[in-house]
């Protein structure tokens, strides 16, 4: 089923386990405490890397959607759906980690002044509607087309919403993660990079696992009918 040049799934799973463990060790034992925010700042290593992973999933979903519409790649529809699904899972984790951080830092579970939280709330609503749309149409070419077009709308909505939230807000976001800032270097940078790679590999593993499961489901249904 998989193409020959692909990394086998067990190897991928082992790699993501090792990377996530390494990231946890680095985040909790190696990275120094942030000078102004202390221990709680460490959640940012996960928060930011999960957020970028969610964007990557939505981007991959839109890329597969484009392939479906453009090249009529028969596998692209399912791949696009699975990528968006993973994106929503990681997006929910962004909301969760962001809320925890907001509670610790400011004593509130929700802050409208926090750009990324608000953006992910909008995206969460948008992609929740994606599932409503997809499961409200019978399986077939029309469902594939609708899902693909809506997934493309999603990647356009991300920058437009980001811009909207930026121009709408009244407070300034505390810029902890300006990559060139003096408060971000050495072990902090290494920890962040490892956490980022770990999350991306982990997401890719989950994506492959779900895809294999969905394909086996589809094949089984075909065999039963045939």
């Amino acid at each position: 089923m998989g193409r020959s040049y692909r990394i086998p799934l067990p190897a991928l799973a082992a790699a993501s386990l090792a990377l996530v463990t390494l990231a946890l060790v680095l985040v909790f034992y190696v990275a120094p405490n942030d000078a102004s925010q202390g221990f709680s700042q460490r959640i940012f290593y996960f928060h930011v890397s999960i957020a970028l992973t969610a964007y990557a999933c939505f981007g991959a979903g839109a890329w597969k959607a484009l392939r479906h519409l453009w090249k009529r790649d028969p596998r692209a529809d399912l791949e696009s759906y699975v990528a968006v699904h993973q994106g929503v899972i990681f997006g929910s984790l962004v909301l969760l980690t962001g809320s925890i951080w907001a509670k610790i830092s400011w004593g509130h579970w929700w802050l409208w002044s926090e750009d990324e939280l608000v953006l992910f709330l909008v995206l969460f609503l948008f992609y929740a509607a994606y599932f409503m749309l997809r499961f409200s149409v019978d399986p077939g070419p029309q469902r594939a087309n609708f899902s693909a077009v809506y997934a493309l709308f999603g990647v356009v909505l991300i920058p437009v919403s980001f811009l909207a939230i930026r121009i709408a807000k009244s407070f300034v976001h505390p810029q902890v993660f300006t990559l060139h800032g003096p408060n971000f270097g050495g072990w902090m940078l290494v920890t962040y990079c490892v956490a980022q790679i770990a999350m991306l590999v982990f997401a890719h593993t989950l994506y492959r696992v779900e895809l294999v499961g969905k394909r086996i489901d589809a094949r089984l249904r075909e065999l039963r009918l045939g």
């Binding site: 909008v122 995206l123 509607a129 029309q142 809506y150 811009l163 709408a168």
Partner: protein, 212 residues
């Protein structure tokens, strides 16, 4: 040009239907005025004018939703869409014509709604009017597109607000910004950007919505 003639014929059909049946526009008008009355009672005394400006945009978005929900109903009930898809015209002409017709209904509703708002709450500046026009373009472009999708699903009317509202958030941000700040330039530009970006996207992908 052939494309323009197609769009004109299709838009004319929708406007003519509305002129004869009159089922969308009176409903939108009544809805928007009723919404203003509800807003009057939902705003406590001495609340700021800014709150009312924000509510104007809520009214516009929901009135538009009412019209958009009706947009593809004749197509669905009388199977017009099958005929249109078979016709030798570019599919995006269907979207453009429907968008223009919806824009006309929404615009007509607002010609009444904005003076009523000024009468009930407070005066409206030129920036708000400009923002309303630009927002209408975006609402009709995206809303018509999603309306065509929603009408083909099992959930139908239930689905359109769910699909539309997350995409309408940037419009509301731009519109409210243009209504409440003293230098509304960048909000107006933002609305124009939204119209261009989503207009092009809808125009380019509508073909996939109406064909199997």
């Amino acid at each position: 040009m052939n494309y323009v003639a197609d769009v004109r014929a299709l838009a004319r059909k929708d406007l003519l239907l509305e002129l004869r049946a009159r089922d969308t526009l009176p409903a939108m008008l009544l809805f928007v005025v009723a919404t203003f009355v509800v807003f009057h009672f939902s705003l406590p005394a001495h609340s700021s004018q800014l709150a009312a400006s924000g509510l104007l945009w809520v009214a516009i978005v929901f009135t538009a939703l009412l019209g958009l929900g009706r947009a593809f109903v004749p197509e669905r009930e009388q199977h017009v869409l099958d005929g249109l898809v078979l016709a030798p015209c570019d599919r995006s002409a269907i979207w453009l014509a429907k968008g223009i017709a919806t824009f006309a209904f929404l615009g007509a509703a607002e010609v009444v709604a904005l003076p009523v708002f000024a009468l009930f709450f407070h005066g409206i500046g030129i920036a708000t009017v400009a923002a309303v026009v630009l927002a209408d373009v975006g609402i009709c472009a995206v809303g018509t597109f999603l309306g065509a999708m929603a009408v083909a699903t099992r959930a139908r009317d239930l689905l359109l607000p769910l699909l539309f509202l997350p995409l309408a958030i940037p419009i509301v941000v731009g519109g409210v910004g243009a209504s409440v700040v003293s230098s509304p330039g960048r909000y107006i530009w933002f609305l124009a950007l939204y119209d261009v970006v989503f207009g092009v996207l809808c125009w380019a992908t509508f073909e996939y919505v109406v064909t199997e």
